[in-house]
């Protein structure tokens, strides 16, 4: 086994390893869907209850993903959760009265924010806060309401 074989072999091995790492980074992980701060703007929305929403959850309009949740915080003066949305700058014409709702993908899927454009003539700009929001549906509350309404209906009979 001469030197040349060893060198070519090691070179190929290292190149293959780096190519595999590159493939994992670009093709497999979410690096490709990462939104850079230069290419985006932020909106804020206050929710009474965010349910299972997480940082990096998708933000969609009509089912099309336009951004991601960048941060979730609690505002202890307004007593509500403040969600920061990072939206791609190519989607920059949302009316001022756009509303945000937290929905669940499928029955047991993850939660995401759906934006619903309103009818105002003025558009939202970087740093604006969405005024109309709808909280996440919490399963316990729904079951509680259901039980309450059935027992109320029974007692009326």
């Amino acid at each position: 086994m001469n030197n040349r074989t060893v060198e070519i072999g090691v070179g190929l091995f290292v190149a293959l390893g780096l190519a595999a790492l590159f493939m994992l980074a670009m093709q497999v992980s979410n690096l490709g869907t990462f939104i850079s701060p230069d290419d985006s703007y932020v909106l804020e929305a206050g929710f009474e209850n965010i349910g299972g929403l997480k940082v990096r959850s998708p933000v969609t309009v009509s089912g099309v993903r336009v951004g991601r949740v960048a941060a979730i915080d609690y505002d202890d003066e307004a007593f509500e959760a403040v969600v920061t949305l990072r939206i791609k700058s190519s989607y920059d014409s949302f009316p001022e009265d756009t509303s945000a709702s937290i929905f669940t993908a499928g029955l047991l899927g993850e939660q995401y924010i759906a934006l619903e454009p309103g009818g105002s003539m003025d558009n939202l700009v970087d740093g604006d806060r969405l005024q109309l929001t709808q909280s996440a549906l919490v399963m316990e509350q729904i079951i509680g309401q259901f039980l309450y309404s059935t027992s109320a209906a029974k007692s009326e009979e």
């Binding site: 091995f13 293959l16 390893g17 595999a20 790492l21 994992l24 093709q27 992980s29 690096l31 869907t33």
Partner: protein, 259 residues
């Protein structure tokens, strides 16, 4: 009764003695790393022996592990109508667990045992003693280049294993079983995190490479210099490395993914 107590004490002391010797050996390796880095040719030759020659078994195993994951995953997920998540399942299990762990186990069997046998035989034939006679430090000349080669090649082998496995899963899932091509990759890209999953997998494999190299070299260097001794040392390398890798994997997983 006394004999039994005496034996117990001897075994315990022997265990701690070996443990201490192993760590002192590691310190010796660390001390000689700067000297070895000045002669990269030594590492290159070992990279070939340790990394390149292990590549084939890693490629083949990775492909088949990925294909089995694709097949098993599909059969389970299709019951829930969730076969689109096949890509996520294959990619996450490979990148987080199977890639680093199975690559390390294969590495212990293919490269670790070879390292132990080689060094053990060098010791049995008194080549290491001969080097010392010529004022050549056998740790610096023989052991450390092999240690660095194991340390460098293990992460590379693990990512190659994962990448090939994902393509194996893709082949079975998409080409043979008819999962949607776009959903396979899109769901994967949605759920696999570069830092949380891929970097942590690489960190795991770096730790495994360190441990596998250390155990293999120490067992060889510490082997009883007879034919039976070298054979025992080789067995111990494979057993101890496998146990250490699986145990460490649990600890690392708990540290990394246990929020």
């Amino acid at each position: 009764m006394l004999d039994a107590l005496q034996g117990l004490g001897k075994t315990t002391l022997g265990f701690f003695q070996r443990l201490g010797r192993g760590h002192l050996f590691l310190l010796d390796i660390f001390a000689t790393i700067p000297g070895v880095l000045l002669r990269p040719r030594l590492i290159l030759a070992q990279l070939y022996a340790v990394g390149v020659l292990t590549l084939l078994i890693i490629l083949v195993s990775g492909l088949f592990v990925g294909m089995v994951m694709g097949l098993q995953g599909y059969n389970t997920l299709v019951d829930f109508g969730a076969e689109d998540s096949l890509g996520v399942m294959v990619a996450l299990s490979l990148v987080r667990e199977l890639g680093p762990v199975v690559a390390a186990l294969l590495f212990a069997g293919r490269a670790g045992s070879a390292l132990t046998a080689e060094i053990g035989l060098m010791k049995a034939t008194e080549q290491l003693a001969g080097m010392e006679m010529m004022a050549v430090d056998p740790i610096q000349r023989v052991v450390t280049p092999r240690f660095l080669a194991a340390f460098i090649s293990m992460p590379l082998l693990a990512v190659i294993f994962s990448a090939v496995g994902i393509y194996g899963g893709y082949f079975v899932g998409v080409d043979l079983l008819g999962v949607d091509d776009g959903a396979f990759w899109a769901q994967m890209q949605d759920k696999v995190d570069l830092q949380g999953d891929i970097y942590n997998g690489v960190i795991k494999s770096i730790v495994f490479g360190f441990v596998a190299g250390w155990i293999a070299l120490f067992e060889g260097y510490d082997a009883t210099p007879t034919a039976a001794g070298v054979s025992r040392a080789t067995t111990r390398t494979v057993v101890h490395t496998s146990l250490a890798v699986l145990g460490l994997d649990f600890v690392l997983t708990a540290l990394m993914f246990g929020e």
